[in-house]
């Protein structure tokens, strides 16, 4: 359904450091300059970009908005969250089971340095779910 997702940043270097770390934890390659002021990441047919807003105004996050990334394992979700905390992000939800989300979801939430809310989610095996 989605071709790409783009978010604004007020500090491209800080944004790149943050997303290199968190997306790297999910196996995404390092971001590349797409055009001046914009860094893009691509992985498994998905593309994610950060950029200085084209209107010259400050970047803001959307209230009510969340960008969800997929992880393969709980370990990746944990690593994603930990990487975000040490690269300028803040916790918006500790890693853990999310019984109200679809399936056997294990997820964690962060705010990026601009305040954008991001989530990473994986599906647990039944034995993992039962044991956790």
């Amino acid at each position: 359904m989605f071709t790409h997702v783009m978010i604004g940043t007020n500090d491209l270097a800080a944004g790149k450091a943050f997303y290199d770390a968190v997306l790297g934890a999910l196996g995404w390659p390092e971001g590349q300059e797409f055009r001046p002021g914009t860094i893009f990441y691509s992985h498994n047919g998905a593309a994610f970009g950060i950029g200085l807003p084209a209107d010259g105004q400050g970047a803001t996050h959307g209230n009510g908005a969340t960008i969800g990334f997929r992880a393969r394992t709980r370990r990746q979700v944990d690593a994603w969250h930990a990487a975000g905390l040490v690269h300028g992000g803040s916790c918006a939800g500790e890693p853990g089971k999310r019984p109200r989300a679809p399936g056997r979801s294990y997820a964690a939430y962060l705010r990026d340095p601009t305040g954008n809310k991001i989530c990473t989610i994986c599906q647990m095996r039944r034995d993992e779910w039962d044991a956790a």
Partner: protein, 128 residues
């Protein structure tokens, strides 16, 4: 890969009229309201949700933010854009059309803002 995308709304009924029209243009189903009152669309393996903010503050769009949706053809991108404009959205950026992108790629792009200002892009890859 993305698991899902969620945007904020200040009026779920208004959002449903808008996004139902967009997904209909893509051959998708109308949205379903879940137990938390969120509007949920499942289409081609992706999930898109629209929600009232859980902090009780008004929904706002992100400046610098865009969500890109896959279009099967230029004609579908045009229909998606027209459906959005007719259902409470507004056009933005250049009118729908061909763009020469980096690395020799040729794209057909259409841009909309939803009734709450969230920026959406309909993208069809012509070359690359």
């Amino acid at each position: 890969m993305f698991s899902h995308q969620m945007v904020g709304s200040n009026d779920i009924a208004r959002s449903k009229l808008f996004y139902d029209a967009l997904f209909a243009a893509l051959g998708g189903e109308p949205g379903v309201i879940d137990a938390k009152g969120r509007l949920v669309y499942a289409h081609n393996g992706g999930r898109f949700l629209v929600t009232l903010p859980i902090n009780g503050e008004p929904a706002t769009h992100a400046n610098g933010g865009t969500i890109g949706f896959a279009m099967a053809s230029p004609e579908q991108a045009d229909a998606w854009h027209a459906a959005g404009v007719a259902s409470g959205g507004t056009t933005c950026e250049d009118p729908p059309g061909i763009r020469q992108a980096t690395e020799g790629r040729t794209l057909y792009l259409a841009y909309l803002r939803d009734p709450d200002g969230n920026k959406l892009c309909g993208l069809h890859r012509i070359v690359g």
